[in-house]
């Protein structure tokens, strides 16, 4: 799997997201910033939906690197208990079924499914949803 960026996911199978723990305060941030102030930390893979919306138009390129052929996608914030709240695509769910508080789990999807060697981005899906 080719990740969209180095150091964003762990090498585990399945991978986990890498956050940063502030060496002084213990605060967890995402992603892990460069430099020596933060220790990389593998984040939990389950959480709940904190908020959401649907991206209904194709974001401008650059910087967007997704396919030209645009299909709307859900994007929200997922609370990983006791850690942090990460921004993420929400996949494998009907838009109408999205609701704040719903349980979600980490998954990975290609940014452009039609690409020959797609880069993978992280996403969350309803717990137990078929990928």
């Amino acid at each position: 799997m080719r990740a969209i960026a180095e150091g964003l996911f762990t090498d585990d199978k399945p991978p986990r997201l890498v956050g940063g723990r502030d060496k002084t305060s213990g605060r967890i941030v995402f992603p892990c910033p460069p430099g020596s102030d933060f220790d990389p930390v593998a984040l939990g893979s389950e959480g709940t939906l904190w908020s959401f919306t649907i991206q209904r138009f194709r974001p401008k390129s650059p910087p967007y690197a997704g396919p030209e052929d645009f299909q709307p996608w859900a994007v929200g914030y997922v609370e990983l208990p006791g850690e942090t709240i990460v921004e993420s695509r929400i996949v494998n769910v009907d838009f109408d079924a999205l609701s704040i508080g719903m349980p979600l789990e980490l998954t990975f999807i290609p940014l452009d499914p039609a690409a020959s060697e797609p880069v993978m981005i992280y996403a969350f899906q309803p717990k137990g949803a078929a990928a």
Binding site: I54, F57, P59, P62, P63, Y77
Partner: protein
């Protein structure tokens, strides 16, 4: 200490003006402000100018005259206008100068703002994945706010309906046709729950304000509009801001979070020595309909959740308890970043002078409030008194 006064105002109409550069729209506004104050360009001792995407403001001297005056450029995102005004005010308060200019202009391409991650200290993947989109943040913020505080889709619609209705009477506004609540609510969805009528668009325009010491203002014999407070503030810990890959977990997440707006507002009221109940008219950042709703509470005008009743009862209409966005705000004027915050102050001066025509707030308002908010968590507030 004596007050700083706004003695001249000028505006180039907002919207789209093909063939006129952003800078020339700023020059237009400056000339109008000079005329309004009865001054000439050579009388202006200094300027602070803001532009996000339309070039260096100090190059205006090519057009206005090479007097050798001091001209400092301000680049501070959506707070650029507020920062220019704050700086101009301080230059006079310090005693260094008696009379100067705060000017802002911009000219953005059509479509959504096109921000790059590196400009916001973010990794490239964040933009590649499609998250450098301001509308996503605004939609996420209101989705949670509606869930927490019981705000309805209809209330979002009422905000936009009011904006277009007020703008009919504002010559500088862009969208000056009324739009029915039904059309607004049933319009194409941009980012749920917002339809296209509930988002403002990047636009063009220019605004100029001439500031003077109280002594100088008296000499000019113009209406005394006093700048009682001008604050610019950045975000507190745990806030939820534009372009946020993460938000902090907090122990009790049932209430509202701190914001740059809350800080800028509280500090402005403290400086002015008055409270939200004393304000007669307010211009609140309304880049989308929900922003006006949330900013009503963040600026202390109501409790979170009360907006549902406020809008239903028309309390933010021109003849309501607290008229909000009397010229249609960003929703009807569009958002040229460098000029937008100064437009709010321009509109407040119009209202305090009683020159609002069909959009004039009744009862001879004495106090006026303005507020902007932008990425990555900046806010600027002003309070004017007549």
């Amino acid at each position: 200490m004596s007050d700083v006064c706004i003695v001249g105002i000028g505006i180039h109409p907002f919207g789209r003006t093909d063939g006129v550069s952003g800078l020339d729209q700023g020059v237009f506004a400056v000339r109008q402000a000079l005329g309004d104050a009865g001054l000439e360009w050579k009388d202006i001792q200094f300027a602070y100018g803001g532009s996000d995407a339309a070039g260096n403001p100090d190059t205006m001297v090519d057009r206005l005259g090479l007097t050798g005056m001091q001209f400092i450029n301000v680049r501070n995102g959506c707070a650029a206008g507020g920062s220019a005004l704050f700086s101009a005010q301080m230059a006079i308060k310090s005693g260094e100068f008696d009379i100067g200019l705060a000017v802002g202009f911009d000219k953005h391409p059509r479509g959504a703002f096109n921000a790059l991650p590196s400009e916001y200290n973010l990794p490239d993947w964040y933009g590649e994945a499609g998250y450098m989109v301001t509308t996503q943040f605004f939609a996420n913020k209101i989705t949670r706010y509606m869930h927490q505080f019981g705000i309805s889709h209809q209330t979002l619609g009422r905000v936009a309906e009011k904006a277009f209705r007020n703008a009919v009477h504002a010559p500088h506004a862009w969208r000056r046709e009324p739009v029915s609540l039904e059309t607004i609510l049933d319009g194409p969805i941009v980012s749920d729950p917002y339809t296209k009528y509930m988002f403002c668009s990047p636009a063009e325009g220019g605004v100029a304000l001439i500031l003077a010491s109280e002594k100088k203002a008296r000499e000019l014999g113009v209406p005394m509009i006093r700048l009682k407070a001008a604050t610019m503030r950045t975000r507190p810990p745990h806030s939820f801001e534009v372009f946020a890959p993460f938000v902090d977990v907090v122990e009790n997440d049932s209430g509202p979070r701190g914001t740059a707006s809350r800080i800028a507002s509280a500090d402005a009221f403290s400086l002015a020595g008055i409270g939200p109940d004393d304000i007669d008219v307010a211009q609140l950042q309304d880049t989308e309909a929900g922003a006006e709703i949330m900013h009503m509470a963040e600026n202390g005008f109501c409790n979170d959740g009360d907006q549902e009743q406020w809008l239903a009862e028309g309390r933010t209409e021109l003849d309501g308890k607290l008229p909000v966005n009397t010229d249609g705000g960003c929703l009807a004027c569009g958002e040229p970043i460098g000029a937008s915050g100064l437009r709010q102050v321009y509109e407040n001066v119009v209202q305090l002078r009683g020159d609002g025509g069909g959009r004039q707030v009744p009862g001879q308002p004495k106090t006026a409030y303005s507020h902007v908010y932008g990425a990555p968590g900046v806010s600027a507030v002003t309070i004017l008194e007549r």
